[in-house]
């Protein structure tokens, strides 16, 4: 294992300390229990709180700030945070309009957020994001994983919340956007969890894992390495099959790097995806290319499509000022 670190036990706290100092214009770090919150709150605005295991940086703390989240609760690497973190974050950011928890669909995350929701004094509700279409059998009661599409939900619901929308409106919008968003990824190499020190899975030099999860969970199938066009067409076909967009639907396309893939390759993948989508009569109206939901040092990428409508597009375009996403503000 080659990682920039001192002691494995200090990995998370030292990384968070650096993050908070680097972005002290926007966020404040609280410890014991750990959460990152916006420096300045807006009174009477619904508080948006997310969280999840660490190792997906910049998700979620990188999206705390004006136009997105009010607080984020980082757990240990790849491990859901605990209810006391969520309760403290809720208490610190609720300004009377209630709390909306945005949760990626994993058993641990859901259970911890549910327990926090039960114990939370503030009015609260939850949006569950399960955008990963790689899970073939949707009858799985745990359902799909929540992956990079979460960033889109956090951005647009964050924008709606800034307009003064109430908790029910934010929840309904979040559910609607989540339903219109689908993702799928491919891995070229495994990640290494710091505490484990070894690769989570093994891939041959000429192999890739199609449908990989953001924790290195095996995906749909192991395949021989293929061209960018073949990869984008397999991922997009799965997503489009699932979302079933009408012809001429405008799309937001997110090309997300999993941590170990250069930006040049992500742009190439975007180009390939755009050509495929145009051939299917789908229009790429907005795009975001970068490492927004990573899996430590995993090489690979995921594609996310969000079916836009006027309301979603408008809220995507509004100003945002967070450590990892910043425009117009």
């Amino acid at each position: 294992m080659k990682k920039i670190m001192n002691r494995v036990d200090d990995f998370l706290s030292e990384s968070l300390a650096g993050f908070a100092t680097a972005h002290s214009d926007v966020v404040t770090l609280h410890s014991d229990p750990v959460f990152v919150r916006r420096k300045r709150l807006t009174q009477g605005k619904v508080a948006l709180i997310s969280g999840g295991g660490s190792g997906h940086e910049p998700l979620h703390a990188g999206f705390v700030g004006y136009g997105m989240l009010d607080a984020a609760c980082p757990g240990q690497v790849f491990t859901s945070p605990t209810p006391d973190q969520m309760l403290a974050a809720a208490q610190a950011t609720d300004t009377g309009a209630g709390v909306l928890f945005i949760v990626k669909n994993y058993s641990g995350d859901v259970m911890n957020f549910e327990m926090a929701a039960e114990m939370c004094d503030a009015r609260n509700t939850m949006v569950l994001v399960k955008d990963d279409v790689a899970v073939e059998n949707s009858s799985h009661t745990t359902g799909r994983r929540g992956v990079a599409g979460t960033v889109i939900v956090e951005k647009v619901v964050g924008s709606l919340a800034e307009t003064g929308a109430d908790l029910a409106q934010c929840k309904a919008f979040g559910d609607r956007v989540a339903k219109r968003t689908g993702s799928m990824g491919v891995a070229f190499t495994s990640c290494i969890v710091p505490a484990a020190g070894t690769t989570t899975f093994r891939l041959g030099d000429d192999e890739m894992e199609v449908g990989v999860g953001i924790h290195g969970e095996p995906g749909r199938r192991r395949a021989k390495l293929a061209s960018a066009d073949a990869i984008s067409s397999e991922l997009l076909e799965s997503i489009v099959d699932d979302l079933e967009p009408a012809k001429d639907t405008e799309l937001l396309v997110l090309v997300n790097g999993l941590g170990g893939t250069p930006l040049g390759e992500l742009y190439l993948l975007f180009n390939s995806a755009r050509l495929w989508l145009e051939r299917k009569g789908l229009h790429v109206a907005r795009s975001l290319i970068g490492n927004v939901t990573t899996s430590l040092e995993m090489a690979g990428a995921s594609l996310t499509l969000c079916l836009l409508d006027d309301e979603i597009r408008r809220h995507w375009d509004t100003p945002v000022r967070t450590p990892a996403l910043r425009w117009g503000a």
């Binding site: 229990p33 295991g53 757990g75 240990q76 690497v77 790849f78 491990t79 859901s80 945070p81 605990t82 209810p83 006391d84 994993y106 058993s107 641990g108 259970m111 911890n112 549910e114 327990m115 790689a134 899970v135 073939e136 059998n137 799985h140 009661t141 745990t142 994983r145 969890v193 505490a195 484990a196 070894t198 989570t200 899975f201 999860g213 924790h215 290195g216 969970e217 095996p218």
Partner: protein, 216 residues
């Protein structure tokens, strides 16, 4: 039974989990994401860190404090689930009088709390495939009023049977569920770690009782 016994059982579970850590990690990396054993160790170490508090309490209060500590330090699925087990047992431990049936009911109440939290029963390739059969066997055995030593010897065997049963199950809950049919042929790491802790705790209680029965 008091906080001292709770702490002894925690120590026994910790020693056994540490001893089997590599095995659990490999099982978890095969069908999950590899974090399970670290979460268990973090939780058990946190409990050992409040040894003084736990040992000074009565049985029910020690279980309750342990539940709250686990909830705030473990995270993942293990945190809420093991916390629910301890809290469920704590809530059902009011009327213990040494009758094994009381302990059996208490354990079953803890397992029921885990089941409610995880919304999962038997057959989904999870720790429930160990916890539920062990609870059922314990109730059945306690009703027959055999020597306690016999009960304590049988429970680890029931747990081991539960672990083996997960090998041929399709995961439908937890991270392993994302694997679909690729989860077939592998035993579940959560089931295995539960078996390891149940076995360690049964051995510890067995020693505790034999020391006590030999006492003048």
């Amino acid at each position: 039974m008091n906080g001292k016994v709770v702490m002894d059982c925690i120590d026994a579970a910790y020693a056994s989990i540490k001893q089997h850590a590599d095995e659990i990690m490999v099982l978890d990396q095969t069908i999950g994401d590899g974090d399970h054993v670290f979460n268990l160790i973090r939780g058990l170490e946190a409990l050992r860190g409040i040894r003084g508090d736990l040992e000074s309490l009565d049985f029910a209060s020690a279980l309750k404090l342990a539940a709250s500590k686990v909830l705030s330090t473990v995270g993942g699925s293990s945190g809420p689930l093991f916390s629910s087990l301890l809290l469920g047992m704590s809530r059902a431990s009011d009327h213990l009088n040494g009758d094994p049936r009381g302990y059996a009911q208490m354990y079953a109440a803890g397992v029921k709390a885990v089941q409610d939290r995880g919304k999962t029963g038997k057959g989904s390739k999870t720790m429930m495939d160990v916890l539920i059969p062990v609870a059922e066997r314990l109730i059945e055995l306690a009703d027959g009023e055999p020597p306690v030593a016999l009960i304590l010897a049988e429970l680890p065997r029931e747990a081991a049977r539960g672990v083996l049963a997960t090998r041929d199950m399709l995961a439908t809950k937890g991270r392993a569920s994302f694997l679909g049919e690729r989860s077939l042929g592998h035993i579940d790491p959560g089931a295995r770690s539960s078996e390891i802790m149940i076995t360690a705790v049964c051995e510890r209680i067995g020693k505790f009782l034999s020391v006590r029965s030999n006492a003048p």
